[in-house]
Symmetry: C2
Subunit: 305 residues, 2 copies
């Protein structure tokens, strides 16, 4: 594959940035990858692994001369990083990010941008429950969606170039408006994460069921929740604080439905339960048909670590 951006700078060197670097090398889409992380320890680990050509000791140094700069820090830190690098950005460069929330990131980043820099926010829908520079791998984005959120007046060439870049990293791309993105993600990701965190916390609190029982007998259902609830706490704190309205709206609807099902259990309305559970089965079928999961029965199957 041919080079899409001569120099790419990654600000923040966790799971997403390190996976991007591995995937960029696999695809050969950048001549040079520079990187910066706030923590000296993270920079040292990144240097040891070597997924960047240069790990710099300041964000400004990392972005100098870069054709693409990608902010890979928690959503709550995006504004401060943008302020820090703004004056070092090369004219004509594209600035993007990988934040799970788009409206709040745009509001925080846009005011700092100098003329002549193309701001094209993006969000790759990929991740694992692991975090940090050593958790990245080149295949993370393969066959996953990356949502691109062009701004009013965005340069089309800059937008399509970023889309080609993500496609080269293995992703499928779609364009979406920021507010709609935040609502869709509240449904498909943010509310489910809060629910999983909550359920795992409840299990941990319940003294009549020991932690070791929760751990030993977590075969069916709860185990998947614990996987979700092991995601990076800082990232998720920032997601909820920055996608407050959509998340609270979805959680409100969730609680309403949950109360209706609880009531059906209490009064013994089996027909209501059966009809509800039959309907949800169809959605799963759709996801498998869309190629976003396998229907191999690995849920509950024996797996040894």
């Amino acid at each position: 594959m041919s080079v899409i951006y001569e120099r790419v700078a990654l600000i923040g060197l966790g799971l997403i940035a390190s996976s991007m670097a591995h995937a960029m090398r696999r695809a050969g889409v950048a001549d040079e990858i520079t990187g910066f992380a706030r923590s000296a320890e993270t920079r040292d680990v990144a240097r040891d692994i070597g997924f960047c050509d240069r790990v710099c000791d300041s964000a400004a140094e990392a972005v100098a001369g870069a054709d693409l700069v990608v902010l890979c820090v928690p959503v709550g830190a995006m504004g401060a990083v943008a302020a820090e690098i703004a004056s070092a950005l090369k004219p004509g460069a594209t600035l993007s990010d990988v934040g799970s929330v788009k409206r709040a990131v745009i509001d925080a980043v846009a005011p700092h941008l100098p003329e002549g820099v193309h701001f094209v926010p993006a969000h790759p829908l990929a991740g694992t429950e692991h975090s940090g520079p050593s958790s990245g791998f080149a295949e993370l984005f393969d066959n996953r969606w990356c949502l691109i959120v062009p701004q009013e007046g965005s340069d089309r060439a800059a937008v399509t170039r970023l889309e080609s870049f993500w496609q080269a990293l293995g992703a499928l791309t779609d364009e979406m408006d920021a507010d709609h993105h935040d609502l869709v993600l509240a449904v498909t990701s943010h509310a489910p994460h809060l629910i999983a965190y909550t359920m795992v916390g409840v299990a941990d609190d319940l003294r009549r069921v020991t932690d070791s029982e929760v751990i030993k007998y977590s075969a069916a259902g709860f185990r998947d929740f614990t996987r979700i609830a092991a995601s990076d706490p800082t990232m998720w704190r920032d997601v909820f604080l920055n996608n407050k309205d959509a998340t609270l709206e979805i959680l409100g609807r969730f609680t309403e439905e949950l109360f209706a099902l609880q009531r059906a259990i209490r009064i013994g309305d089996g027909d209501h339960l059966h009809a509800y559970f039959t309907r949800t089965r169809a959605i799963r079928r759709g996801i498998i048909e869309a190629g976003q999961d396998t229907d191999a029965p690995d849920f509950g199957r024996a797996r040894k670590a």
Copy 2:
């Protein structure tokens, strides 16, 4: 391996029963496996696959002469099946089941049992989102727990024989009291399933986010919920109706915690969120250390069907 029960009868021929038959053959623990299912179509499929030596046209015929009879029907059907087979059970035989709820099954089955039959309820913590006779496979129970719930006055030899049988099928076994079983499972399985069903239903209802968006962008979090929410509707209706008190108690606690986290989001209390999310991470680590899941980052990783 040597034979543990000469003849084993499986009543109900879905995912669990068909997996048991495959695993019994793998282990060589039974000379003959008989089976019965209420639906003629299921019996025909089972005959085609051939995991039983004989598929019978009545439950009484299937259990005649069996040394072990295992009820593999939904929890709500156990009582009626027990009444139907009671007079055909061989003296000295063991009657067991695989229901996800134990107190209600014991209350429904025990009154029908003739003298001289050993009733040893059990619950293998294994399953997939698929159901029916063609979804079974021999490895389903490998390294999973099977909880054995001996009754007051249970014959120890009958209990340990059933434990050896499940171990031969690949499972780990533990003994537990029926009420404690129902509480533990409410936490690790029943409440999480209801929550997953609810969230998938909410997504389906939300008209501003299309079903196709929910399906396409279900990478992070929601996809695992849809897998859980694709489980068999009849089985789960019966679980909730028959483990009502424990499930409602856990859901009550869940709602309390969820409201506390929603409030933290609303007032912007990032410290509360961060502390909560950090605590839930530790449980995941425990599950991996207990060998009940892998820490390979398959959550969000590209998978093609």
